[in-house]
């Protein structure tokens, strides 16, 4: 019988087809990848679409500057992008964006009318999907806040954690020659814009602190000739906190904003007191040592302060009602100005050792001490950003130059100077305004 029949040919064809389609059995490869290098994320932010293109470009530029300053993003030059102006409505062409090596893409639009309205979408070009889409509005006076709010949204979705761009910094603005410095209270947006001066500079002011609600402040002033603690609403008049103390200084608000903890120096001893606004003070520490620079934990249960009861200035923790204190700083040198982070997991401090000034952080039990910045010139007075990831402090190079504000993130990266109109010192970071 003949072999070459149609049936045989069909069989052969099917068999051959099956053979061709067969793939070698795949096994599942399981791997574990740990760690990785931190690199800033490339992000493309074309100008925001707007009926006023200049306005759209300005808002986009504020966003780019914010993200660049954070050190976690690398906004690309807008001139090099495929599209100059963003389009919020339509999905972007991911292929072209991928070609420019962009991982994240921000499309936004902003309109200024009775209110300033803005819409923003963040796209992941590799996954070709939207990451977040939000819309915001604010009053026209604070149109820059729109840019800061948008920056916060981008920051939180792409890098985890909350943002810190919609905040203000209260500080002491110094001007004039070194021998005759004029120090005034000032407040500005965290990117340096919108500076407002709150005091005349007639008398010396130190260590201003903004309240947890962001609308009042407390500071030390030499109005009386002696340093005394004052408090005031923003833009309002100042009032002395307590009467009858020879010297009081180093004030800080409690987390609920209803009381202030500060130091009183009375006949050679310096102790920590707490007082409600308009009430009478309660003493929290006693003894012959100098206890100063108190700072509340965010939950209000403990106070970190500086004391030299052990012989040299070190950091101590005690309960909010006073009582036994526990030392937490054991490194080399002397420690001062402890500040508890708003997230509650870190304490920033100033350390002097080896002839240098260091700004560092440690955990509340004293472990995990990490120095973020070291300098031969005087630098101190750290303050925390609301997300607990950035620390701002001031550094005085000495000589005729005056102090300036610097910031660094808690991993020690991205140390940079915050540009201010005049010399600046004693920064205090406000919480998020929104």
């Amino acid at each position: 019988m003949t072999l070459f029949t149609r049936r045989n040919a069909l069989k052969l064809g099917l068999a051959g087809g099956a053979l061709a389609l067969a793939t070698p059995s795949q096994a599942l490869v399981e791997i574990v990848v740990t760690g990785g290098n931190f690199t800033p994320l490339p992000i493309a932010i074309p100008d925001f679409a707007s009926s006023d293109p200049a306005f759209g470009a300005e808002i986009a530029q504020i966003v780019r500057d914010n993200l660049r300053r954070s050190g976690l993003f690398v906004p690309l030059d807008p001139a090099s992008l495929p599209t100059r102006v963003g389009n919020v409505q339509n999905e972007p062409d991911f292929a072209t964006w991928r070609a420019t090596n962009v991982d994240a893409l921000v499309m936004g639009s902003v309109e200024r009318g009775g209110q300033v309205d803005s819409q923003v979408r963040v796209w992941d070009t590799q996954a070709a999907a939207q990451v977040v889409g939000k819309s915001y509005s604010t009053d026209p006076q604070n149109y820059r806040r729109i840019a800061h709010i948008v920056s916060d949204a981008i920051y939180s979705t792409l890098s985890g954690g909350t943002g810190y761009f919609d905040t203000r910094v209260l500080y002491v603005a110094e001007s004039g020659p070194k021998a005759n410095r004029v120090k005034r209270l000032a407040i500005m947006d965290q990117d340096g814009a919108n500076v407002q001066y709150l005091s005349s500079g007639k008398s010396l002011v130190l260590t201003p602190r903004i309240s947890p609600s962001g609308d009042s402040l407390t500071f030390t002033s030499y109005e009386d000739g002696n340093p005394q603690v004052y408090y005031a609403g923003l833009g309002g008049s100042a009032r002395k906190l307590i009467n009858g103390a020879p010297m009081s200084f180093a004030p800080r608000f409690a987390p609920d904003g209803s009381s202030v903890v500060f130091s009183v120096s009375n006949g050679g001893t310096t102790n920590i007191y707490s007082s409600t606004l308009g009430g009478s003070p309660t003493q929290l520490t006693s003894g012959a040592a100098i206890d100063t620079s108190p700072s509340y934990a965010p939950d209000g249960s403990r106070i970190a302060f500086e004391s030299d009861r052990g012989g040299s200035p070190q950091l101590y923790l005690m309960g909010a009602g006073g009582g036994g204190a526990q030392r937490i700083s054991y490194g080399e040198g002397t420690y001062s100005t402890p500040v508890w982070a708003p997230t509650g997991d870190l304490i920033a401090f100033t350390r002097q050792s080896g002839g240098q000034f260091h700004i560092g952080i440690m955990r509340p039990d004293g472990s995990g001490e990490r120095i973020l910045s070291s300098s031969g010139s005087v630098q101190e007075g750290p303050t925390w950003a609301p997300n607990g990831r950035v620390v701002m402090f001031f550094r005085d190079p000495g000589g005729d130059a005056g102090p300036g504000l610097w910031s660094v993130d808690i991993w020690g990266r991205n140390e940079q100077q915050i540009k201010t109109e005049s010399f600046a010192s004693d920064p205090s970071w406000s919480p998020l305004r929104g």
Binding site: V32, V33, F38
Partner: protein
């Protein structure tokens, strides 16, 4: 023309002759034997593939087989004997070591007359002892009866006479060729000997008692003597019966043991089958494991290369390490090494930082170019921000 031909022929012949001679002079080339190495091309999968398993397989609890075939589980050996006190030194027993039994025909009845003359000297001292019992000799009929009894009884204890051998012959059956341990056999034999000794001791004791009773009765009361003698006789008969019954029992026990042992042997021969331990093979239970458990077909170094390649591209978000972010990705690599489709994030945390980390590692996987190392594989990758 002619000259040319001759010259050419001569030269050719000369050349050929030279070649032949030259070849003869030359040495044959000897090939030195080279040691060759056997080379096998073996795919990696032969070493890295694992057996297919079954998820619900039972775990077999196989006990180590014991040397001795016993039902009782092996126990820790207890210190034998009394080790805290000095023990009396063993003395040489009058019994010689038992010789292995030899099957011989039972001795003829001629041995019986031997006890007969033996009691003759003995009754002599007896009447000598009891001169006052001369009168009771009137009732000597039952008297001599107990007398000859002790005699044959006294004889056997010193020796295992052929008279008694039929009994041990039944008790200790024909030695069968089997692989029971020698010590066991010896122990058993010793047991049997001891049993016999016990038996004989019992008999001796009983008989002695009986004799004593008879004598006492004789001494004490003549009238009771007959009854006592009769009682003694009956007692002796009972003892005899008991002895016989015990013997029977012992014989039966030994027979039963023997039968059991034979049955064991037969069972061993019948039930001879292959081991069912936890090894691969036909039958038995599958090893405990996944049914689709095939090991990775990448060697360790290839896996390391893949991990390094992906790791170099990861742009980690800022707080991921502090937050100990983790993500699990599942992706397919095509034949040419490029990614097929998009990686699926199978398991990522719910907070922002974990999602940012998951996106970052997905981007890294997509960007990191052709994975020639793992072409044609499915990969399940677990990412951890913190490096331990």
């Amino acid at each position: 023309m002619r000259t040319g031909l001759t010259v050419s022929t001569a030269l050719h012949a000369g050349l050929i002759a030279l070649a032949i001679v030259g070849l003869g002079i030359g040495q044959p080339i000897e090939a030195t034997p080279v040691e060759s190495i056997a080379v096998d091309l073996v795919p990696v999968s032969e070493f890295s593939n694992i057996r297919m398993g079954s998820l619900d397989s039972q775990v077999l609890e196989t006990e180590t087989p014991s040397v001795v075939d016993t039902e009782t589980p092996p126990e820790l050996a207890q210190p034998t004997g009394n080790t805290s006190e000095d023990q009396p030194t063993p003395e040489d027993t009058p019994d010689p070591t038992p010789a292995p039994t030899v099957q011989t025909a039972p001795a003829p009845e001629a041995s019986e007359p031997d006890p007969a003359p033996a009691p003759d000297p003995e009754p002599a001292p007896l009447p000598a002892e009891r001169p006052p019992a001369a009168a009771p000799e009137a009732i000597p009929d039952p008297a001599p009866e107990p007398d000859p009894e002790p005699a044959p009884v006294e004889e056997p204890p010193p020796l295992a006479t052929p008279v008694e051998t039929p009994d041990p012959a039944d008790a200790a059956p024909r030695p069968v060729m089997k692989t029971a341990s020698l010590t066991e056999k010896r122990a058993r034999f010793k047991q049997q000997q001891e049993a016999e000794k016990q038996k004989k001791a019992d008999e001796a004791r009983k008989a002695a008692e009986d004799a004593k009773q008879a004598e006492d009765a004789k001494k004490a009361d003549e009238a009771k003597k007959a009854a006592d003698a009769r009682k003694a006789e009956e007692a002796k008969k009972e003892a005899d019966k008991k002895k016989k019954a015990e013997e029977q029992k012992r014989i039966e026990q030994a027979k039963a043991q023997e039968a059991k042992k034979l049955a064991d042997e037969v069972a061993n021969i019948i039930n001879n089958e292959d081991t069912r331990g936890a090894t691969t093979g036909d039958g038995g239970q599958k090893t405990l494991g996944r049914e689709d458990g095939r090991s990775a077909t990448l060697s360790q170094s290839e896996i390391g290369a893949l991990v390094a390649q992906i790791r170099s591209c990861i742009a980690m978000p800022a707080g991921a390490e502090d937050a100990d972010a983790r993500a699990e990705l599942y992706f397919n690599i095509g034949r040419d090494g490029s990614l097929v489709g998009q990686p699926q994030i199978t398991n990522a945390g719910s907070d922002m930082i974990a999602q940012a980390y998951a996106r970052a590692v997905a981007r890294a996987v997509m960007q990191c170019g052709p994975y020639t190392v793992a072409a044609g594989q499915e990969v399940k990758a677990l990412f951890q921000a913190r490096e331990f």
